[in-house]
């Protein structure tokens, strides 16, 4: 599925007194929002599960009062064969990180003081005609469709209990208890050092319910990694070993994401935080760093991919947080814990 850009976006920054600081081209990563949009309509049966040849476009949503070129957001529009285009709209908060990066540039150029408040607006202008690609490679997207098999959502719900807040728009995710048990064992065994694994499972589709849902059936311990108290490095050998393990299982499972531990108790030692501060620290639960997100982007880019973090704190038993792509951004999300260890499809 190709993504085209008839407009170029930019963020314009203003100092606290309203002075315009200048504009910076918004080179954002559109892929997560595109993936989310596509999967949203695939879940509802409005888009084929195999949609490689379908064109998508990123277009501005003009600000209602000021009009063009000011944006109130952007739209990802997918050409639906034989029907009206399918679209999802996204707010200008998706440009917040770019605005922050632009502000840093203006601080360096002494146009903005360190810590000074600023505001930003998003603008878009028609893109010039693209020059022919310098690449001589002729490339075709041959990606497999969403690998979903038929199953009953209600049969899963009947033998599962919710964990965390499950938003109605999120794809339901069912996790085998064995996955969390093994993650807990490994986290405790490596206490103080980040460890992790690769999550595998099945995607199921309940045509009657108009929903696709995921089952995390197992975790493959991440081998050939190097871990410290603040990071876990996945190497090419890690992925190769996981591939071999997945093939050996021969159960039709696919990659669903990854899990890793956050040895928060170790982070707290380094910062000599008080027990009270540890309990309210944002790192203690539902924390997913930009680095954590980068692993998702590089290895598990599909919108149905999820990540699990094992929160290992000094003040409570081990807890688990799940993260997934919601409206183009990786966010904490709830899941269902299955009561049995085997697939019930």
């Amino acid at each position: 599925m190709s993504l085209s850009f008839p407009y170029r976006f930019a963020v314009v920054l203003y100092a606290e007194d309203g002075t315009s600081l200048g504009a910076v081209a918004a080179k954002r990563d559109w892929e997560p929002a595109h993936e989310w949009t596509r999967f949203y309509f695939q879940r509802r049966g409005q888009l084929a599960l195999d949609g490689n040849g379908i064109a998508s476009t990123v277009i501005p949503l003009w600000e209602r009062t000021m009009g063009e070129p000011y944006c109130r957001g952007y739209r990802i529009q997918i050409a639906a064969p034989g029907g009206r285009p399918l679209a999802s709209d996204f707010p200008t908060t998706h440009f917040r990180d770019l605005a922050a990066a632009a502000a840093s540039q203006f601080v360096e150029r002494k146009k903005l003081r360190e810590g000074e408040l600023y505001s930003y607006v998003v603008v878009a202008h028609p893109a010039p005609a693209e020059a022919a690609s310098a690449s001589g490679l002729t490339v075709t997207n041959a990606s497999p469709g969403v690998p979903a098999h038929e199953a009953s959502l209600s049969s899963f719900l009947e033998r599962a209990k919710p964990s965390g807040v499950i938003e109605s728009d999120d794809m339901p995710v069912f996790v085998s208890p064995q996955v969390l048990e093994e993650a807990a064992e490994r986290t405790h065994a490596e206490e103080g050092t980040e460890t992790g694994g690769i999550l595998i499972g099945m995607l199921w589709r309940d045509a009657g319910a108009g929903e696709i849902f995921a089952e995390i059936t197992a975790q493959i311990p991440a081998e050939h990694t190097s871990g410290s108290n603040v990071k876990l490095t996945f190497t090419p050998q890690t992925w190769a070993a996981a591939d071999a393990a997945l093939r050996l299982r021969r159960r039709g499972e696919v990659y669903m994401g990854y899990w890793h531990s956050h040895p928060v108790r170790e982070w707290c030692k380094g910062k000599t935080c008080t027990p009270a501060a540890q309990k309210t620290c944002h790192l203690a639960k539902d924390f997913f760093s930009a680095d954590d997100d980068a692993v998702m982007r590089a290895a598990f880019p599909r919108a149905y991919s999820i990540a699990i973090v094992a929160n290992d704190t000094a003040f409570a038993d081990l807890t688990f947080s799940m993260f997934g792509n919601r409206e183009g951004i990786t966010q904490p999300r709830g899941f269902y814990l299955l009561e049995e260890k085997t697939s019930g499809a």
Binding site: S143, A240, A298, A299, F300
Partner: protein
């Protein structure tokens, strides 16, 4: 299928880690290196070139037929055969970011 010693281009299949993003390349130049191919395919496949801090990510291409990671300096014509499948596998950190 034989080694493409006399052809100038060969078809290949390139996958990401998950196997859920797969691209067919009709004409990989046999005189190019694997590193050049990987560099170009990252853009075509919209895979990130940098980590969260902006540092370049390194990817290795794993040749499934031989079950080994190719050296970036290997020549396509020497290492690959028509229809070979490569998987692009990054060296990447999860963590706090420092």
């Amino acid at each position: 299928m034989g080694k493409a010693e006399t052809t100038l281009e060969i078809p290949l299949e390139i996958s990401d880690v998950s196997g859920q993003k797969v691209f067919s390349v009709a004409n990989a130049p046999t005189g190019n290196t694997v590193g050049e191919l990987v560099h170009e395919m990252l853009g075509k496949m919209n895979l990130p070139r940098n980590d969260a801090s902006g540092a370049p990510l390194t990817y290795q291409a794993r040749l499934e037929r031989e079950g080994r990671h190719l050296n970036a300096s290997e020549r396509i014509g020497d290492a690959l055969e028509r229809g070979d499948r490569l998987t692009l596998q990054p060296n990447i950190d999860a963590g706090l970011g420092y």
